[in-house]
């Protein structure tokens, strides 16, 4: 609760009318941003702890270690350090949280460091697509998440003879 309070206080400060309308001095805007950043980091740590405990309690092995979750603050950019283990041959499970009160079936986009990956849900492999922009890769697939719930998808690097991307999966054309 104390960790979440950090974010709550930052959000409280950000309700000031100057914060809402953007009529604050630049140094004040920077202060708002720093408070929100500190609150964000504390909240992520809390989520990490809670989800890690939930995953451990649902594991068949009672001796399973608590998975250490990480977050990607650069999801709308081209690099996500959280998916770097893919380049070392590890699988990267990604857990999606749906904060709305209805089931969502939505596309998701994740920056990845390699071009050849597969995505699996609990039902097995699902369709996915990799877009290549300027030597960075964005993985796209559809995620199904229950209301206020979680879903897990596992991103796996594709090795060996499978290492060639199917030609029909993605193509690029420079128009002008």
């Amino acid at each position: 609760i104390q960790d979440i309070m950090v974010m709550r206080q930052a959000m409280g400060v950000a309700q000031h009318h100057d914060a809402v309308s953007g009529t604050e001095k630049q140094e004040v805007a920077d202060d708002y941003a720093e408070r929100l950043s500190i609150g964000n980091a504390a909240s992520l740590e809390t989520i990490n702890t809670v989800i890690g405990k939930l995953l451990t309690s649902s594991s068949k092995s009672k001796n399973a270690a608590t998975p250490n979750l990480s977050f990607c603050p650069l999801l709308n950019q081209s690099i996500c350090p959280a998916t770097n283990p893919l380049s070392e041959g590890s699988n990267v499970p990604v857990i999606f949280y749906n904060s709305l009160s209805w089931t969502r079936y939505e596309h998701v986009r994740v920056p990845i460091p390699v071009s050849n990956v597969s995505v699996s849900s609990t039902d097995g492999p699902i369709p996915s697509q990799v877009i290549n922009y300027n030597s960075s890769y964005i993985l796209e697939f559809y995620a199904l998440v229950s209301p206020l719930g979680y879903s897990t998808y596992v991103i796996s690097p594709v090795k060996g003879e499978e290492n060639e991307r199917p030609a029909e999966q993605v193509y690029e054309t420079i128009v002008t």
């Binding site: 309308s21 953007g22 009529t23 604050e24 001095k25 630049q26 989520i47 989800i51 998975p67 250490n68 990480s70 977050f71 990607c72 999801l75 709308n76 950019q77 996500c80 959280a82 998916t83 283990p85 590890s90 699988n91 990267v92 499970p93 990604v94 857990i95 999606f96 949280y97 749906n98 904060s99 709305l100 969502r104 079936y105 939505e106 596309h107 998701v108 699996s120 849900s121 609990t122 097995g124 369709p127 996915s128 697509q129 290549n132 922009y133 796209e140 697939f141 559809y142 995620a143 998440v145 897990t152 596992v154 796996s156 993605v170 193509y171 690029e172 054309t173 420079i174 128009v175 002008t176």
Partner: protein, 286 residues
């Protein structure tokens, strides 16, 4: 497909979008369900921030949007690099003018909307001109000087050009006097054709409809002067903005309204991802 006369077409079972193959610009959106087509042009324009004139010393700033004149300049005067990618999940067209102006349209296979991602800024002020950059959609809808924007993501407010519902409005600033707040949703309607063009935003901004069928959305502002309303600084935003909006073309009906409302909430509350790594196979992990 260089110099081809055929437009680039993205299509799923809900909508079809056509793009100019030479510059990647949006040409039209078709609602596949109803068969209606919206002819549309999107462009980026900028207003020069006022630093006062003989009418008034009022400068454009954080509180006051006051353009120097009503004329809007074209923001991108160079030929962009256009990249198209199509696959089983999405089709996308990326229009790259420079590192400070990139636009990407995406159509996902299961989406009823066209997504547009815009990377804009930092705005160049090396010419000593403050700039207020606007994304302008010009359609063939007849909108009777009326548009709508939301109040805090909830009730939609009817807006009429050069009009206020509760007092006799004297037009002093024909452009900025018609810019109103948007928190999540803004749209224009053609009641004679029963058609609506909706823009969903991922952050608060402002919108206007200065001409019939037109919808302006303010993107980014960088002014050189303080507007004298208490901030004491020019609004010299040196940041880059990466924003995602959704464009929906549909009929005017309660059914259609019930579709874009959840979409707007989904845009404001995206699925939140957390990552870990494992040596377990996907079946073992699951």
């Amino acid at each position: 497909k260089e110099n081809t006369a055929n437009p680039i077409v993205f299509e799923n079972k809900y909508i079809s979008a056509q793009f100019n193959p030479n510059d990647g610009s949006l040409i039209s959106i078709t609602n596949v369900t109803s068969g209606a087509t919206l002819n549309i042009q999107q462009e980026y324009v900028w207003y020069q921030s006022s630093d006062g004139n003989y009418d008034s010393t009022q400068c454009s700033g954080a509180y006051i949007f006051r353009p120097n004149e009503d004329y809007a300049f074209k923001y991108n005067n160079i030929t962009p690099i256009v990249t198209v990618a199509q696959g089983p999940i999405s089709s996308s067209i990326r229009i790259f003018w420079s590192d400070i102006m990139v636009q990407t349209f995406r159509l996902y296979t299961e989406s009823e909307h066209l997504e547009v991602e815009e990377i804009i800024g930092p705005i160049d002020i090396s010419d000593n001109l403050g700039k207020e950059v606007v994304s302008r959609y010009t359609t063939d809808l007849s909108t009777d000087n009326t548009w709508y924007s939301d109040s805090n993501g909830m009730e939609m407010q009817k807006r009429i050009t050069n009009y206020r519902p509760s007092w006799n409005y004297t037009v002093v600033q024909p452009t900025s006097g018609n810019y109103v707040p948007v928190n999540a949703i803004t749209y224009i309607q053609d009641t004679s054709k029963n058609l609506q063009f909706t823009v969903l935003t991922d952050r608060s901004r402002s919108s206007a409809s200065l001409r019939s069928g037109q919808l302006d959305v303010m993107m980014h502002r960088r002014t050189l002067m303080d507007d004298g309303r208490g901030v004491g600084q020019p609004m010299n935003e040196s940041t880059q903005i990466i924003t995602t909006s959704k464009l929906i073309f549909h009929d005017i009906s309660e059914v259609a309204q019930s579709h874009y409302r959840p979409t707007a909430l989904g845009l404001a509350h995206p699925l939140y991802p957390m990552f870990t790594s494992t040596q377990q196979s996907s079946s073992q992990w699951n």
